[in-house]
């Protein structure tokens, strides 16, 4: 497959994830360690280079710039085996606003490692949304290791949504660590995973709230079936006056799947308040019966409930 075919295949798959990459929007398209395309827009500086197994890139949204359209990052590989390592740094300078949409596309991977090491800095009053959607094939055992470190400054806002619900998960080790150091800063991390076969899904979300009146939410929705295994570790630490946080985890188990949830709420400042909720187990009967009383079969009812949870 030549570079043009790789490019158009990745773009076509990304289109199906619901937020297509448009030619007039900022983007970086990477296959293996080849940067196939890169486009910046006013207010966004992209500095990217190819490395042995992937790329290293810095994205800077200049102070005060509001990017009205998303910045698309497409990292993919169309082969069956290999390795891709993405090192990225995203900086939103003070007052900037942007949405980054990361498409991670591995439709044919069987023995593959996809590692992402990301550093994100959200400046004062800046607002960043980060969406990461994975598309994997129905077979194979890809290993996915995204590690993200985030710092949120005064009045900054960081929202991230990670979704791995298409195809097999393989082995996932998601690790997000956020420090909300600024007064009135906030962070919301949501992870949605659908484990099947013997997938191994590990999600670790940690938010430290050291800014006065800062807030944080760590939320996970994990659905496991067959012989898959899922573990969610969600920790929110309140370390400042007025800090408010919440850990919210729902893990639904079907078949022979197993799940663990470890919600950790810790407070090291008397003026902080952290709460949590966790529900783990099979789909509640009343939800199933409620839909079956409208004529849905049990399997149809499960599909409706699961697709809602993972939405």
């Amino acid at each position: 497959m030549n570079l043009n075919e790789e490019y158009s295949t990745l773009i076509e798959i990304a289109r199906k994830t619901g937020d297509p990459i448009k030619s007039d929007e900022a983007h970086v398209i990477v296959h293996a360690n080849n940067i196939l395309a890169s486009k910046d827009v006013p207010g966004l500086v992209i500095d990217a280079e190819e490395t042995e197994y992937g790329i290293r890139a810095t994205f800077t949204v200049k102070a005060g710039f509001v990017l009205k359209k998303p910045v698309h990052l497409c990292f993919g590989h169309l082969g069956k085996e290999g390795k891709q390592v993405i090192e990225s740094k995203i900086v939103l300078e003070d007052g900037a606003k942007a949405k980054f949409y990361s498409h991670c596309i591995f439709p044919n991977a069987i023995e593959f490692l996809h590692a992402m090491e990301g550093d994100i800095v959200v400046g004062k009053g800046a607002d960043m949304t980060y969406e990461e959607v994975h598309v994997h094939g129905p077979e194979g055992k890809i290993e996915v290791r995204p590690v993200t470190r985030v710092i949120v400054n005064e009045k900054g806002r960081y929202v991230s949504n990670f979704a791995l619900i298409e195809g097999r998960v393989g082995i996932l080790s998601l690790d997000v660590d956020v420090d909300v150091i600024g007064r009135l800063g906030s962070a919301e991390i949501t992870s949605k995973i659908y484990g099947k076969y013997d997938d191994q899904c590990s999600v670790k979300d940690v938010i430290r709230l050291s800014g006065e009146n800062s807030s944080g939410l760590a939320k996970a929705r994990v659905v496991l079936k067959d012989h898959s295994f899922g573990k969610f570790y969600g920790e929110v630490q309140g370390a400042a006056e007025g800090a408010k946080g919440h850990v919210d985890c729902t893990e639904v188990v079907q078949g022979y799947a197993k799940a663990e949830a470890v919600p950790v709420v810790s407070v090291i400042h008397p003026g902080a308040e952290i709460t949590h909720e966790a529900a783990i187990g099979k789909i509640a009967n009343e939800k199933l019966w409620g839909l079956m009383a409208k004529g849905l079969s049990e399997n149809e009812a499960i599909d409706v409930i699961v697709s809602g949870l993972l939405r």
């Binding site: 409620g290 409208k294 409706v304 809602g308």
Partner: protein
């Protein structure tokens, strides 16, 4: 030849695993296009009756049969009963994360137009903007209850079982609940309304009084209502329960 009732519970007994009888030889009929009330105090077995008719797994009869349109449905699942035209508006409807009100309503009628969805919401006094809201914590218990009634309205089943339709529904007056029964009946649906409110029972064509899992009285709603108001106390009170029994045997 007399037409068979739409629903006929013939001598139904349902027990817990410990042997305690939740329904004891209950016989109830619901006619075509008829609004039937089941009146009783808390703990009388009203919700058990609703679950038994709907076919919930833990509420399978120990004895007796359930007939719908003349056919024996005792062994059918919830889905099979729903596909025959039976549905239940739950007393405490479940939450569904990630499903919008519009999507939820379309589970009752897949081809419903947006206008029909809005009409169903309007009927139970919910604004059209609710269509985009999620059926989760964003809706209060009362709003989910209204939505459940809208869902039944849209479904137009042959038999709608309404379990305490007014409970937790703020601002929805008894008159509005009764209007819902009548409209369902206009569509050709039969309604089995389960309630502890005598004024709701008054609006029915026929009523049953349930006490301690037994049908104590059947007949005109006015008579059943008077009996209920004058003699029926909490079902946990054995003296009052025995008084009702002795009165019935007179």
């Amino acid at each position: 030849m007399t037409e068979a009732p739409l629903l006929y519970l013939d001598d139904i007994t349902v027990s817990r695993e410990n042997g305690k009888k939740l329904l004891d030889k209950v016989t109830i009929k619901v006619g075509h296009g008829e609004i039937t009330g089941v009146l009783g105090r808390n703990g009388a077995g009203k919700t058990t009756l609703a679950y038994t008719i709907m076919g919930l797994p833990s509420y399978k009869p120990d004895s007796g049969r359930i007939f719908f349109e003349g056919g024996d449905i005792t062994g059918l699942s919830i889905t099979e009963r729903a596909r025959l035209g039976i549905t239940l508006a739950w007393q405490y409807p479940a939450r569904y994360e990630g499903i919008t009100v519009a999507e939820y309503l379309r589970l009752s009628r897949r081809d419903a137009t947006k206008r029909e969805l809005e009409e169903a919401l309007d009927f139970i006094q919910m604004e059209a903007f609710y269509l985009d809201r999620f059926v989760d914590k964003a809706l209060s218990g009362g709003e989910r209850k209204r939505l459940e009634l809208a869902s039944v309205y849209l479904m137009r089943p042959k038999l709608a079982i309404l379990d305490e339709p007014d409970s937790g529904v703020d601002m929805l007056a008894i008159g509005d609940v009764v209007r819902l029964f009548k409209r369902l009946a206009d569509f050709g649906s039969s309604v089995l309304v389960i309630t502890h409110r005598d004024d709701i029972a008054s609006a029915c064509d026929r009523a049953y009084l349930l006490c301690n899992g037994k049908v104590m009285l059947e007949g005109q709603p006015v008579a059943v209502k008077q009996y209920y108001m004058s003699l029926c106390g909490p079902c946990s009170d054995p003296l009052l329960a025995s008084e009702v029994t002795s009165n019935e045997s007179k």
